[in-house]
Every structure is written in C-alpha cells, then in structure tokens.
Amino acid sequence: MPSNLIDALFVFMLAAFIGFEVIRHVSPLLHTPLMSLTNALDAIAVVGAIVLVGERKAPYATVLGVIAIVAATSNVVGGFFITDRMLRMFKSSRPAKAEGTKS
C-alpha cells in the first residue's frame, strides 16, 4: 500500500504539471469548449462506478453505483457532443493564413 501510494502521488504530480503546461497553451477563444471537454474527460470516474455496480457487493453499493454511472455517462455523452458542436462553429475567414491575424 505505501509504495502504491507514493506511485500514485508521483502520477498526480506529473499529471498536474502536464495539465498546467498543456492548458496554458489553449487559446482563450476555446475556453468554453475546453471546459466542456475536460468535463467529459473527468467523467472517466464512471469506471469506478462500473466496477462498483459489477462487483455486486451490497445492494446499497449497486444503487449508488447505478446513479453514479447515469450521472457520469450523461457527462461523457453530453460533454463530447456539445464540445463537437461548438468546435464545428469556429470558422476562419481566411483558411490559408488564419494564424497571422494578431497584429
């Protein structure tokens, strides 16, 4: 357990740094889709709920787990769906050299 714990802390630390570096470079233009995307990714918590329900250890665990799966799955489906809808709307007026407009 203690070695697992240390591993887990290392993973958390590295992922947090990667998160900071990657997200710092996201254009403010896309902050709303970014939030709905991270929301969908965060719903990966559904895997914990799936194991909880599947193991059928206690009736209350199944009930709580089923509600948890429903809540998280709606985030997965709704989150990816709306992020895609938003991103499809972002169009450039000059597809060839859209990058050079900040001057």
Partner: protein, 463 residues
C-alpha cells in the same frame, strides 16, 4: 492470483495507459481551433477504450445494471449536448454537478464497503473526495439555477456569512480527521457528506452573476480534484491523471478570470461583489448624455473605416448575436473593417462570447482578445458596445474609489466615437456608475440590443 487473472489485469492497465495518453493529447490539440476537433476524437477514443477495458475487469459478475445505467445516462446526455449556445454556462454548471455526484456516491459506497478496516491514507483521501464532491454537487446546482434564472442572480448575503461558512467547513474537516483515526465510527460519515452539501449551497448563494466565470472555473477545478481523490481511493492512475488534468484546467481558468477582474480567490468567494453599494451612483447630479437614433448610428458606422464591436452578457440575453452577424456582413461589404474585442470575463463563463459569435458564423480570426486589441482603440473610428458595461468602465483606470479600480478594461473611450447600446441608464449588474456614458465622444443608443442592431442593419440596406 492465477496467471489468466493477472493477464486480464495487465491488459486493462495497458488500455488505461493508452487512454491516459489520448486524454493528454486531446487537451493538447485544443490549443488551436484547427486541431481542436482531433482533440475530441482522441478524447472519445480514450473514453471508449477506458470504459471497454473496465468491462473486462475480473471482479465484474453482473452486467445488467451497468448496461441499463449506461443507456440511461446516454439518454440524458444527448439532450444535454443539444442545448442552445446561450444556455452553455448553465449546462456546464449542471455537468460539474453530475460529475461531482458520481464521485460522491462512489466515495460513499466505498466507505461503507470498507469500514471499519480503512487505512488512514485511504480514509483521508476518501474524506477529501466526498467533501469536495459534495460541495461541488450542490454548489454547481445553485450556480446552474442562478444562470438559468430560476434562482435570483443577486448575491444573497447576511451578517456573519463567512464565519458560518468557515465554521461549517471546519466541522466537516474535524469529523473527517476523527474518522481517519477511528474509521469504525461510521455514524459520522453521513454528517460529513451532509455538511459538504450544505456548505456548497452556502458557498455559491452569495456570489453574483458577474462572478460566475470565476465560480464555474473554480467548481470545475474542485470536480477534477475530487475525481483525482477518488483515483487515490481506488488506486486508479487513469482517474488520478484525468482528475489532475481537469483540476489544473479549472485552476488555470480561475486564475485567468480573477486576473481579468483584478480580484483574488478569497475576494470572489467571500467578497459578495454585488453587495458593494457605492454611494457614487446616487451622488451624481444629472450629467448630460447624448443619444442617437438608428439612422444616425448607421450613418456614423457607414462613414467609418475601422469598427470594433464589444459584446457583453447583454448581447447574449437579448439573443442579438445573429443581428450582430448581419451588421458585420453589411459593414464588411461596405469595406469597413469590423473586429470584435473580447474581454476575458465577458459573459457568464470563460470564452462565452467567442462561442456565441462563432455560432452566429462570425469568423474566429475577427475575435480579438483584450490585450491584443487595446492598443488599437485610438485608431478605431467607432467602438460599438453591445450589452457590456463594467468591462468598458474607464473608472477602473482612473477612479481609485471605484470598486472595480485596477480591473483591466477594454479602452473603448479612446476610440474616436463610442456607441453604447443599452436599455436605459440603469447602472450595470454591480451597481457601478459608468463615466463612459457622459464622455463627449460617447453616444447612447437606447433600446433592445437585437432590435436596435436590426434597425441599423435595415438603415445600411442589409435587409
């Protein structure tokens, strides 16, 4: 542990590893609108792999309820993915609530399954998981209610509010510490969850509409951290990674929002911005404002070379973005250069204005961030402010007594002519008077944003 058993575990871990990499790539590709849609695909593949891999888990003996719940959740998710773009802030708040609900429920179930034999570290992160999850759940529901306007947008405050809030949090933490030492005292667990739920409500009710971008970002961060805590409890590196990514994303956005308002976290959470009642507004004697008709406004716009439109939450409320697009079209046809100045906190969530304007088919390279466009205002012929107020208030630069002093603003007052579309002279959400309206180069265009822009377009021969 037999060999076959271990084999499937390894396979699942490898699948999770690939999913984690895809999640990181997914966020990396969000850096530009050109690659962003690859990002979604990467995220989707990662998610499908992770869920599929989990179903291989050796401990799973019953699939019936899993399938039913997955189908039900998808059924709820589809309409949530189809909401109007103007409703995106409340949808986002609602999805933070759902994410936090999942984490809190799984955490609670884990507690009752494992008690009384819970190692101290597991109990600590489990307590963190349910406290963060619980407060994010109710806090996000309140935020969604305020954004949907089923709850009053005005801050709800009372004397000693901060003390009550901090005391609640302190009790929850004290109980959590007690449980870490005595994990068999399970009667205290519901109290921790209950206090976290109440705390979430109390945390968000004093926060006003204009502070929503920060609060949503902060709740996003909490949702991520609670998922990471759940990863520690379940010893799932995939969850820790996804939670850490979401947590840092929310934190970065909160910091950007706070900077854009020149305020600190504590000030947003405990400051109750809308309650700052300045006597300044009442003390003004009737200063003169100049107003203009749609015909006059159209003539000024048609004569301009460079126009900068400054959209705000009022544009979203009036659903004026499509009329604004028509104005953009007709002016562009007359070879007027039209750009849009986006303040980071314009609207009710980070990036809100960009999404609304993109929905109205305005090319994203016309949407310019505050720091990139502020230098251009002195060369701008017309700055047209649509439904924005505080983010254009020059008092933020000059008046030390103003509650928004020091907040970075869009320097519209430096344009040759400023036109402000506004329903009336009522001060904005924060109740702060805007000296911009009394400047010599300012014209007030009184009316509903959608109708007024429509009339201007008609004058310009658009429709």
């Amino acid at each position: 542990m037999n060999a076959e058993f271990a084999g499937s575990q390894y396979l699942i871990e490898v699948i999770y590893l690939v999913a984690s990499a895809l999640f990181i790539l997914s966020l990396k590709w969000m850096s530009s609108p050109k690659t962003a849609r690859h990002g979604i695909l990467a995220g989707e593949i990662g998610m499908v792999l992770a869920i599929g891999g989990t179903l291989l888990h050796h401990g799973i003996v019953d699939y019936k309820w899993i399938i039913i719940a997955l189908v039900l959740g998808s059924g709820i998710g589809i309409p949530l993915g189809m909401v109007q773009m103007t409703a995106v802030p409340q949808r986002t708040a609602l999805s933070h609530a759902f994410g936090a609900l999942c984490v809190t429920l799984v955490g609670s179930a884990e507690f009752y399954l494992q008690t009384p034999h819970i190692p101290k570290f597991t109990m600590s992160v489990l307590a963190m998981e349910v406290i963060l999850g619980g407060l994010t759940f109710t806090g996000s529901l309140i935020a969604a209610g305020k954004l949907q306007e089923v709850l009053p947008q005005r801050p709800i405050t009372y004397k000693g509010q901060n003390i009550v809030n901090l005391a609640l949090l302190a009790v929850a933490i004290a109980l959590a510490v007690y449980l870490v030492i005595h994990p068999e005292a399970k009667q205290y667990f519901p109290a921790i969850v209950g206090i976290a739920l109440v705390f979430g409500v109390f945390l968000v009710i004093p926060i006003g509409g204009a502070d929503m971008p920060t609060v949503i970002s902060l709740l996003n961060s909490y949702a991520g951290l609670s998922a990471a805590a759940m990863g520690f409890v379940l010893n799932s590196k995939l969850l820790i990674i996804a939670g850490a990514l979401d947590g840092s994303s929310g934190l970065i956005l909160s910091v950007i929002m706070c900077k854009a308002m020149n305020r600190s976290f504590t000030n947003v959470l405990f400051g109750a911005f809308g309650q700052v009642q300045t006597s300044a507004a009442a003390g003004q004697e009737a200063r003169s404002v100049r107003s203009a008709t749609p015909e006059e406004a159209a003539a000024i716009l048609a004569a301009a070379n460079k126009v900068v439109v400054v959209p705000g939450y009022g544009m979203a409320v009036a659903q004026a973005q499509h009329k604004v697009r028509e104005l953009y079209d007709v002016l562009t046809k007359k070879s007027v250069e039209v750009r849009f100045a986006i303040h980071p906190v314009a609207g009710r969530m980070p990036g809100h204005m960009n999404v609304l304007l993109a929905e109205a088919d305005i090319p994203y390279d016309r949407l310019i961030e505050m720091d990139d466009i502020n230098g251009d205002f002195p060369q701008t012929d017309v700055a047209l402010v649509i439904g924005a107020n505080d983010v254009t208030n020059p008092a933020a630069r000059t008046d030390q007594s103003s509650p928004i002093f020091g907040m970075p603003i869009l320097d519209v007052d430096k344009a040759h002519t400023v036109m402000v579309i506004k329903r009336s002279m009522n001060p904005g959400f924060a109740g702060i008077d805007n000296p911009l309206y009394y400047l010599d180069n300012n014209l007030m265009l009184f009316g509903d944003a959608k109708q007024f822009v429509g009339s201007i377009v008609k004058e310009l021969g658009g429709h």
